[in-house]
Symmetry: C2
Amino acid sequence: MAQILNGREVVDAINEKLRAEVSFLKEKGITPTLGIIRIGDKVEDISYEKGAIKCAESIGVDVKKYLFKESITQEQLLNVMAAINLDLTVHGVILFRPLPEHIDDNTIRKALLACKDVDGITDQSMAGVYTGTDLGYPPCTPRACIEILDHYGIDITGKKVVVIGRSLVVGRPAAMMVLERNGTPIICHTKTENMKEICKSADVLIVSAGQAKTIGADYLNENQVIIDVGINMADDGKLCGDVDFQAAENIVKAITPVPGGVGRVTTSLLMMHVIDAAKKTI
Amino acid sequence: MAQILNGREVVDAINEKLRAEVSFLKEKGITPTLGIIRIGDKVEDISYEKGAIKCAESIGVDVKKYLFKESITQEQLLNVMAAINLDLTVHGVILFRPLPEHIDDNTIRKALLACKDVDGITDQSMAGVYTGTDLGYPPCTPRACIEILDHYGIDITGKKVVVIGRSLVVGRPAAMMVLERNGTPIICHTKTENMKEICKSADVLIVSAGQAKTIGADYLNENQVIIDVGINMADDGKLCGDVDFQAAENIVKAITPVPGGVGRVTTSLLMMHVIDAAKKTI
């Protein structure tokens, strides 16, 4: 049976360090603060928001909410962002997307200061991930994948790491982070030929396919480590990943569960970025 | 014997289109103009400059040279760049690097307007390559690799494309461009394990290893297309690539020669970017 790479364990280790950093900052009179901009009442946004607030509370990070109706205009939103950019008491900002259709995503992304971009949505943050420099912040989900590998001592130097999915939120940044760790990244996507064969030969699979059970037994080998980024609702109403967990746990060496894997680690990394942004104001 | 992917043929096709675009612009009173900033007298810089000027002349692009001694200060160089940014008659700029040690590369890169960054050195251009959007311009060398594939009708959709090298000038942007063409990029580097096996299984190899004869017969298969980015001086004083050409041409399906392959196409793409930048001023 595969080793379970438990998100909770990773979170506990990260949060312990973060609490110490928050104490240090509070002694200096700084309370690291996350701004959450939410437009409308999407269920998944509210769910992520609740998780983030819970995590923030447990670490000692403050949260300021900026809640708006779907009818907010682009100009009004830009004004809000300009005010947050100037507000020295807000260190990092997340903004739920997709935005309403009448608001241009690019215009809004560009309006955020890179130093407050704790979830990696600005061009500067993207250039930072791509170049391996500390411009802005990387998106939290791919960073969670790497933190899990690190926590469990899984060294990817020289290893074949297949990333399934090429989005700017997971696939591409994950591949760039693999490269920073000296792994050999392979980016697969819907157009990739012979994906089974490519996956089967990989040492690590980072799966962000966006569909339940995309990866079954015939994509796997017994020495693999599987990081499952997917979150889907199965027919039985339970959450599941993009990997067929029941099949995989009998084959591979190690695997993250869903829920309780990557997703759980993501919010801790959001707090890590907020705290880092706050430290930079000292 | 392998098909030779001749850079000259690609250049002829590109330049023909570019001449028509230049005529169109000149009718509108605009002469596309490239600014070349060179500090010192490095042989390789002067050689590239000569090639660029020759290519520019044959297409009808003007060149303005900004030549400085190694003793130029960072402030002086920043003033030059600020002046070029404001100069509406200069549409694109290349800057030979590495810069002298007393000048900070990052500071200088950031000083250039992305809309004039025809060789992809600014963060905006890098974000553009990474995200697949038209922020700034991609570096010319990886784009030359893709243009050669396009010219010879080599479709990489779904194909395994191994990129050897992970620099920001060739390897990383080449991998991102492969992704934009729906290929499956694999980025190999000095730490990669089992590189022979990975290369042997590839449909296309883009080689930017920085060393002569890095890739020999045991990395190759008979259905492969090889794009050799390397330029090295062989023991006999002749130029050669990173691939053992004599061995490869008896094995693979198609290969670019060195010289006369990728390098030749690069300056045409530089002109393409300058002309595009000029068009955007209409």
